[in-house]
């Protein structure tokens, strides 16, 4: 007896989807440690020092040493913490962060060994809403971590995360709507295809800037890293985490950065498209996307090295009084132009 429920699988066979999921995850999992080295090296250069340069050639093996160090640390937790939630919260953070990777399109549907494979995890019809849904849940990873730690610094960090994520998610979403009504589709692959003439970075420059600022706040990166402000809150929501729990949060933060970079690349920088009518073979497309994402990652690091942390009231009034009206105005103007 079959249930009156529509099939979950779309046009690709299930085994292709599993292979795609594994490949995407493994590539990102391999890129991540390099990213941490890249960030520390760049930060070092920004601050007139070398950064890590002892482990392996040019310090490239530093993350391996770090991972071994973190994995071998004693797992401890405060006596005031809630056991299950304390352990589950970092896992939730990782889950939601990795889920966002599925959405980044690395290339169009391609024929590989006689099978049609879309070079993306999934191409959902709700597009960016999927990311916002995951973002909505990822908040619980941070808040539960802060709450279950049973320490006041963690708690304050978690509460800050709650307020900050809600405030900036609105602007982030509204900034994208301008692109969505221009492209007239929510599918990210469709949005890339709609940018064949011109990348949305140019006509939607206001939306792009709002999106980037809001993304810095959503990923808790400097100058919006009040959630983990080490001068005030020791370490924010992960104050009480050591060893693997800490690595989990670190991992989630970097994956979130990658996802946001991927979404920005897809929506504003034309995804796998190259300018000036250059059409490379399809196998180059994922590398184009990766290169564009690296631009954003560098921007993340650059800003972190350059700007000081905001004050909390500045953060809130900036989000609600400047960013949100600006995003609404951008949406309004875009809608008027599109209708005309």
């Amino acid at each position: 007896m079959s249930f009156p429920i529509a099939a979950v699988t779309y046009f690709e066979p299930w085994w292709i989807q599993i292979i795609k999921a594994l490949i995407i995850f493994l590539i990102i999992f391999g890129v991540l440690p390099m990213l941490t080295v890249y960030e520390r090296k760049l930060l070092g250069r920004f601050q007139h020092r070398y950064g890590p340069n002892r482990v392996g050639p040019f310090g490239l093996l530093q993350p391996m040493a770090e991972i071994v160090k973190f994995a071998l640390k004693e797992p401890f937790r405060p006596t005031t913490s809630m056991g299950f939630l304390f352990r589950a919260a970092p896992a939730l953070s990782i889950l939601t962060a990795v889920g966002g990777l599925a959405l980044i399109p690395w290339g169009p549907v391609t024929n590989i060994f006689g099978t049609n494979v879309g070079l993306y995890g999934i191409d959902v019809s709700v597009g960016p809403l999927y990311v916002f849904a995951l973002g909505g849940i990822s908040f619980y990873g941070i808040l539960l971590g802060g709450w279950a730690s049973g320490s006041k610094y963690s708690f304050l960090g978690g509460m800050r995360a709650a307020a900050q994520l809600i405030s900036y998610e609105v602007s982030q979403g509204l900034a994208l709507v301008g692109v969505l009504i221009t492209a007239q589709t929510l599918s990210l692959v469709g949005i890339v295809n709609a940018q064949r003439g011109m990348w949305y970075f140019i006509p939607q420059v206001v939306g792009f800037l709002i999106f980037m600022v809001a993304s810095f706040a959503e990923t808790n990166r400097a100058p919006f890293d009040l959630v983990e402000a080490d001068a005030e809150l020791v370490g924010g929501y992960f104050t009480e985490y050591g060893g693997t729990g800490f690595v989990a949060y670190l991992f989630a933060e970097y994956v979130n950065m990658i996802v946001v970079s991927g979404i920005a690349t897809t929506i504003f920088l034309g995804g796998w498209l190259l300018p000036f009518g250059i059409h490379p073979p399809t196998w180059v497309d994922p590398f184009v996307v990766l290169a564009k994402m690296m631009i954003f990652m560098t921007l993340f690091i650059w800003i972190r090295a350059t700007l000081p942390r905001l004050r909390y009231d500045q953060l809130m009034s900036f989000g609600w009084k400047i960013l949100l009206p600006l995003a609404t105005l951008n949406l309004l103007v875009t809608a008027i132009i599109v209708v005309h």
């Binding site: 299930w14 019809s125 909505g136 809600i166 929510l186």
Partner: protein, 234 residues
């Protein structure tokens, strides 16, 4: 595959719903409600209502429940809720009423849907484009009424949360510069690096007639301060 997912989501939804009622700790009750809402979203997804599923998570789990968690974490904490007497009587009454209503609705349909395959899937069903079109054509009135309701709610929230009296007028006390002159030789940078202030004051004739370096710093400072005081008094 879809059957497995259905049962996982359905069981999680029921467990979450029971948890909301059964949990004494309000924080855990809110978390159970989040679990319930996310499971409902999974069920919507199985029905191919992608937009509804995403909206369910974004709006309920991502925004509404965040506020619940926020308030409970700040105010409720680990304290347990004891309901009042009126609630103890009314609660079961309402529960029984809803249960009877559900039974009537279920039995009234004679459960005829169980043996059927359900409506056929049409391409584009559940996508945002289709839903948007329906909102602006067939269901325009309901859509507009709902937007009006949201607008009223938003304005009401602003009115309720506004400052009752507004900010007090600034009488200048906050940003007033405290007009206190610092005596020499009490540790300013200029004194540490050179002796700018003392030299200037000596050159201007305030410092009296002593030679530089002839007196101990404390005595010199005392002399400068004394001369300033005398000048202020004059």
């Amino acid at each position: 595959m879809s059957e497995v997912l259905f049962f996982i989501a359905a069981i999680a939804a029921i467990v979450g719903a029971v948890g909301v009622v059964a949990m004494r700790n309000p924080f855990y009750a809110v978390l159970a409600l989040v679990c319930h809402l996310v499971s409902l979203a999974a069920l919507f997804l199985l029905l191919r209502a992608e937009f509804v599923a995403a909206a369910q998570v974004v709006v309920y789990a991502g925004a509404v429940m965040v506020l619940y968690v926020f308030v409970v974490a700040y105010v409720g904490g680990a304290e347990e809720i004891r309901s009042g007497n009126a609630m103890r009587v009314l609660g079961p009454l309402f529960a029984v009423a809803v249960a009877i209503e559900l039974c009537i609705a279920l039995l009234g349909s004679a459960l005829s849907g169980i043996n059927s395959q359900g409506a056929a899937y049409k391409p584009g069903f559940g996508e945002p484009a289709r839903i948007g079109k329906l909102f602006l054509t067939d269901y325009l009135f309901a859509f507009e009424v709902a937007s009006l309701l949201l607008l009223v709610a938003a304005i009401g929230a602003i009115v309720l949360a506004r400052r009752r009296r507004g900010l007090e007028d600034d009488d200048g006390s906050i940003a007033r510069v405290i007009g206190e002159r610092r005596p020499s030789y009490t540790g300013t940078m200029a004194e540490g690096a050179g002796t700018r202030q003392v030299y200037q004051e000596i050159e201007a004739g305030h410092g009296g007639s002593f030679e530089i370096g002839s007196a101990e710093p404390k005595e010199r400072a005392a002399a400068v301060v004394a001369s300033e005081d005398g000048e202020d008094g004059a």
